[in-house]
């Protein structure tokens, strides 16, 4: 018997039946379990539709006047800024981009959200404004090759100040020398706990995945089947400077680097084997190769459609500079003695590098 379609398919059936495969539609029509699931989905959808209903009528002309008047009423300090500065200043108003930067840093290079960054390997298409931690820190979809159990979550939360952040994470709070223009005031602090997960390699699962890709699984190295690897990241902290409208303008983050430990087969052996598996995109494989498993390097798969990356040095250490192609966001990430550091914001690459190099 055909297996039941997912809840997501049932949900789509309500909105876009044409987007659901014929076989699924036919199954649902004759399956009491699915019909019940469909009814539940319909009921929840109706509650949501009601909760989110709105009948706003917008006066477009008035709004356009407000926008243009608002732009003309920018404070003098901004108006006299040189063109490039004005552009970055404008970028500071982009809460989406800045917030995405914060998410990426906190959950990615910072206290990696294991649930997200460990299983994610698919080179999913990413819209320009939805940069996620998956863009900055990604590992193979290990769930296709075994079981992943997250044992502690990052629990990212605000704290009262720098000293609390230092106390909770055991890290030295980075001090910024000179703030870029347009960034003012005191930062707020966030911390995230150490994330741990255990990944168990399964030859059976890997074989399944390979078969699904129409390939044969290369013979696993002896002892790998059933081997466990402990993956950790964090704790971490971030100092966030927020613009008047509540927009994060600059984020300086620091976290204990992701690392992988093994009680048996070395992580490097597992990694090299994973690299041989069918269906692994070449660019991702290249990034995985860079993951040493000892916290000295950080894989940074870059979606070249939206981000460009370049190499630089910070304090003599190799650093990766990421810039969004629309020029609105830049960040620099580097590892130093097992600690990942990141500076990002609605700033230029020069500005984030300058902040990074002057951190004390």
């Amino acid at each position: 018997m055909r297996r039941h379609p997912t809840d997501g398919t049932l949900r789509r059936l309500l909105d876009e039946p044409a987007g659901v495969a014929d076989a699924d539609r036919e199954h649902v029509a004759g399956c009491p379990v699915c019909l019940s699931g469909l009814a539940a989905a319909r009921a929840d959808a109706a509650v949501a539709a009601d909760a989110l209903s709105t009948e706003v009528t917008a006066d477009v002309d008035a709004a356009w006047q407000r926008l243009t008047a608002g732009a003309a009423a920018v404070p003098p300090a901004v108006q006299v800024a040189p063109p490039r500065r004005a552009r970055w200043r404008a970028a500071l108003r982009s809460p989406v981009i800045a917030a995405a930067g914060v998410v990426a840093l906190l959950a990615g290079a910072g206290a990696a959200a294991a649930a997200d960054w460990l299983p994610i390997f698919r080179t999913e298409r990413i819209a320009p404004v939805t940069l996620t931690q998956a863009d900055l820190v990604a590992l193979p979809d290990l769930s296709a090759y075994g079981d992943l159990r997250v044992s502690s979550e990052p629990n990212v939360r605000p704290v009262a100040g720098a000293s609390t952040a230092a106390q909770l994470t055991g890290l030295t709070v980075p001090r910024v020398g000179e703030l870029p223009r347009g960034v003012t005031g005191e930062p707020t602090y966030q911390v995230g706990d150490r994330v741990t997960a255990v990944y168990t390699f399964s030859a059976a699962k890997a074989a399944q995945t390979a078969t699904a890709a129409g390939e044969t699984l290369p013979t696993p190295p002896p002892g790998l089947d059933g081997s466990q690897f402990r993956l950790t990241a964090g704790p971490g902290m971030a100092a966030v400077w927020t613009e008047a409208r509540g927009v994060p303008a600059l984020v300086v983050a620091r976290a204990v680097a992701p690392a992988a430990y093994s009680s048996g087969v070395p992580f490097a052996t597992a990694r090299d084997y994973l690299l041989k598996l069918p269906g692994l995109p070449a660019d991702v494989a290249a990034q995985l190769r860079a993951f040493s498993g000892d916290g000295t390097t950080l894989p940074l798969p870059v979606n070249s459609r939206y981000l460009t990356s370049s190499a630089a040095k910070v304090g003599g250490k190799p650093a990766t500079v990421l810039t969004s192609r629309d020029g609105a966001l830049a960040g620099v990430v580097w590892a130093d003695a097992g600690v990942i550091n990141a500076v990002a914001g609605s700033l230029s690459a020069d500005e984030v590098l300058s902040v990074a190099r002057e951190l004390r």
């Binding site: 049932l10 789509r12 876009e16 009948e55 706003v56 477009v60 709004a63 003309a72 989406v96 629309d326």
Partner: protein, 171 residues
């Protein structure tokens, strides 16, 4: 010197006029008030005006930006709550719509529930209920169309649970 004046994109006005209602709509679904939704729309278009986002991608960009910005506004909830309290009825979603059955208290619960959802779930939920197709939501969030259904379903289920929980706890 940068000339002061209107935003820099030549096509801004065209995009603005075409997408303004939609952007306000997305924000209003999150915030429940027209004034705040229009504030969000101003922010979003100011940002957009300085980007190089291709015009063809503008509707998606603006919708996601509106959802994120509005959800960010929810976070500064205390300030809002204070203001709402003072204003008496900050909830002027549609003062002239007699059949608006959602009460102010319910709106507050909806906002609180949205704020508690994982961000991606909340954005997918709001975009879907703002009329974006599965393909559009998928494209703007970097999801596969298949997983949009899953994400929306989970978000709706969580929203219903939150609303029920709060409804029963406040009775």
């Amino acid at each position: 010197m940068e000339p002061s004046g209107p935003p820099v994109r030549a096509d801004l006005e065209d995009v603005f006029r075409a997408a303004y209602a939609r952007v306000v709509g997305v924000a209003a679904r999150v915030l429940g008030t027209r004034d705040e939704a229009e504030d969000v729309a101003q922010e979003v278009f100011l940002s957009f005006g300085r980007t190089a986002v291709p015009a063809a991608e503008a509707p998606g960009w603006l919708s996601v930006a509106a959802a994120h910005t509005a959800l960010n506004h929810l976070r500064s909830g205390r300030r809002r709550a204070a203001r709402e309290g003072q204003a008496g009825d900050g909830l002027a979603v549609s003062p002239d719509v007699a059949d608006a059955v959602v009460t102010r208290d319910e709106h507050r619960r909806v906002r609180a529930a949205l704020a508690r959802l994982p961000r991606k779930h909340a954005v997918a939920l709001v975009l879907r209920h703002s009329g974006l197709s599965y393909a559009e939501v998928a494209a703007t969030l970097g999801l596969s169309p298949g997983s949009v259904g899953t994400t929306v379903r989970r978000a709706e289920s969580a929203l219903r649970e939150e609303l029920n929980r709060h409804a029963s706890s406040s009775d």
